[in-house]
């Protein structure tokens, strides 16, 4: 049953064999069937073909949790507490007050799990063995975190803002999932407390009734079901900051640094690296000899802006520019298309590589790191011309 399911899913054969045999198409309540990697907590990824749309439908949007106690939150009784040792005026907000008291803003942004594509690391590293689909692009509507923080009269000493949601561990000794961001990122006008995605209330599995949105940064900071925002004069000191979601210091070409959490050896993941996928054709598709094939995909980065996508049909020896689609904002997917004529029978391998406005390009050699973050090897898709 499982093997058949996995084949139909078009999973990348480079995933661990155990992942290929246990992954299956399954639907969570309110969701279309997604690729189930784990039942409890639910970790479900979006099949690649959904990224043929610029915005990922809410019911196809990936689901990622670390801890398995995930209560449904009643929006009528939900409250958001703003406090912490660096907040002179702590206060609470209901959902109505959040919507009423602050100016709404909507931003198109990609939410990508830090470990997206972890399953494609060679050699493999332990974790949730994601393929390509631990990401989704949406229009997030909410209010600026900065506007909320302003009302709390933050002390000059504030160095981090931390977030906690309602989901928690099955076992009391397991650390709660609490994440912090540096104060400068919290005050960025694009960092939001969002209550809608793609024009609808947030789905339960994507953080209802409100979640943090940190455009450009890895999904780990986008706290779901957020109920507590804490202004801190000291660095947040828990497993999820000190041990998890860290990369070797200096190993990636990143600009934004989280200095209050950085050590000589490691530093928190921050902005996403430049990346792209081919969404059509799908691996293994048959293409008619002599026909013109439209190759489609999306590209993104940490918010600097995609400037080009190139496609190769000769294993990377030569590259030609794809046509970029509409630019709906620097944190969004940037769609692209490319036409190629199928001129010889047999396998045809397509490769895509994106570059951004600060001169970064996808890598052709994987940057190894223990937790399997920032996989941005050029995507390859092989079809058969017949």
């Amino acid at each position: 049953r499982k093997a058949v399911a996995a084949e139909g899913l078009g999973l990348d054969p480079h995933l661990p064999a155990g992942t290929l045999s246990e992954a299956a198409l399954e639907a969570l309540p309110g969701k279309v069937p997604l690729i189930k990697l784990s039942y409890r907590p639910p970790n479900y990824e979006t099949p690649l073909r959904y990224f043929n749309d610029l915005f990922t439908p809410n019911d196809a949007f990936f689901v990622r949790y670390h801890l398995s106690d995930i209560p449904e939150v009643d929006p009528n009784t939900w409250g958001l507490t703003i406090g912490g040792d660096a907040a002179a005026k702590p206060f609470e907000l209901t959902l109505d007050a959040l919507k009423r008291d602050f100016a709404p803003i909507e931003i198109a942004a990609l939410c990508q799990c830090a470990g997206n594509r972890r399953g494609l690391f060679d050699p493999h590293v332990p974790g949730v063995e994601w393929g390509y689909g631990a990401m989704g692009n949406a229009r997030w509507k909410g209010v600026r975190l900065k506007d909320i923080l302003e009302r709390a009269n933050l002390a000059k000493e504030t160095i981090e803002i931390s977030f906690q949601g309602t989901d928690g561990p099955a076992f009391d000794k397991t650390p709660h999932f609490v994440k912090s961001i540096p104060i400068w990122k919290a005050l960025d006008p694009d960092t939001l407390v969002a209550y809608e995605m793609n024009g609808q209330a947030l789905p339960h599995f994507n953080g209802a009734p409100a979640r943090i949105v940190v455009p450009g940064w890895a999904g780990t900071y986008w706290m779901k079901h957020v109920t507590r925002i804490t202004a801190r004069s000291t660095p947040e000191d828990n497993f999820w900051m000190k041990a998890a979601y860290r990369i070797p210091t200096g190993k990636f070409p990143l600009v934004q640094r989280f200095l209050s959490q950085e050590t000589v050896a490691s530093t928190p993941i921050t902005e996403m690296v430049v990346n792209s996928v081919i969404t059509a054709p799908a691996a293994g598709d048959a293409v008619r000899m002599g026909s013109t094939l439209t190759v489609k995909g999306v590209a993104w980065d940490g918010g600097y802006g995609i400037t080009s996508v190139e496609v190769s049909t000769d294993e990377g020896q030569s590259w030609a520019r794809a046509t970029l689609g509409p630019d709906v904002g620097r944190y969004s997917f940037r769609p692209w298309t490319f036409q190629v004529r199928a001129t010889s029978k047999g396998p045809l391998t397509l490769m895509a590589r994106a570059s951004n406005a600060i001169g970064q390009t996808q890598t052709s050699a994987l940057i190894q790191n223990p937790a399997g973050y920032h996989h941005n090897l050029m995507h390859r898709v092989s079809v058969t011309v017949a």
């Binding site: 661990p16 064999a17 155990g18 992942t19 045999s21 246990e22 992954a23 399954e26 969570l28 309540p29 189930k36 990697l37 784990s38 039942y39 409890r40 907590p41 639910p42 801890l67 398995s68 106690d69 995930i70 050699p123 493999h124 332990p126 974790g127 949730v128 063995e129 561990p169 099955a170 076992f171 009391d172 000794k173 397991t174 650390p175 497993f239 041990a243």
Partner: protein, 97 residues
């Protein structure tokens, strides 16, 4: 203070009634019951299958230690040894010799 599998499954039902994790079956080999009794309290057992068969014995040992030290899994030394042995033979590169 060990959570038996039944408690774990009851919890699964209460938090995610839709998720039919009972379909997961681990390989039948010595130590399987110890694994099922200790490793399903906080997450479904597909976490093990998904992370296979690439880990060698050292990686499985590090994972089990992480579950105990970082996440508070109440597993005693003898059970930990049985679990590491079972996982490296059945879900790792340290297969039966």
């Amino acid at each position: 203070m060990r959570k038996p599998l039944l408690a774990a499954l009851a919890l699964a039902v209460s938090t995610a009634a839709h998720a039919d994790e009972t379909v997961i079956t681990l390989k039948n080999a010595p130590g399987r019951d110890v694994v099922m009794n200790n490793c399903a309290a906080c997450h479904s057992l597909d976490y093990i299958q998904m992370n296979s068969p690439f880990p060698d014995q050292k990686v499985w040992e590090a994972e089990v230690t992480k579950m105990i030290k970082a996440f508070g899994a109440p597993i005693d030394d003898a059970d930990a040894k049985t679990i590491i042995d079972y996982l490296s033979r059945n879900y790792g590169t340290g297969g039966p010799t």
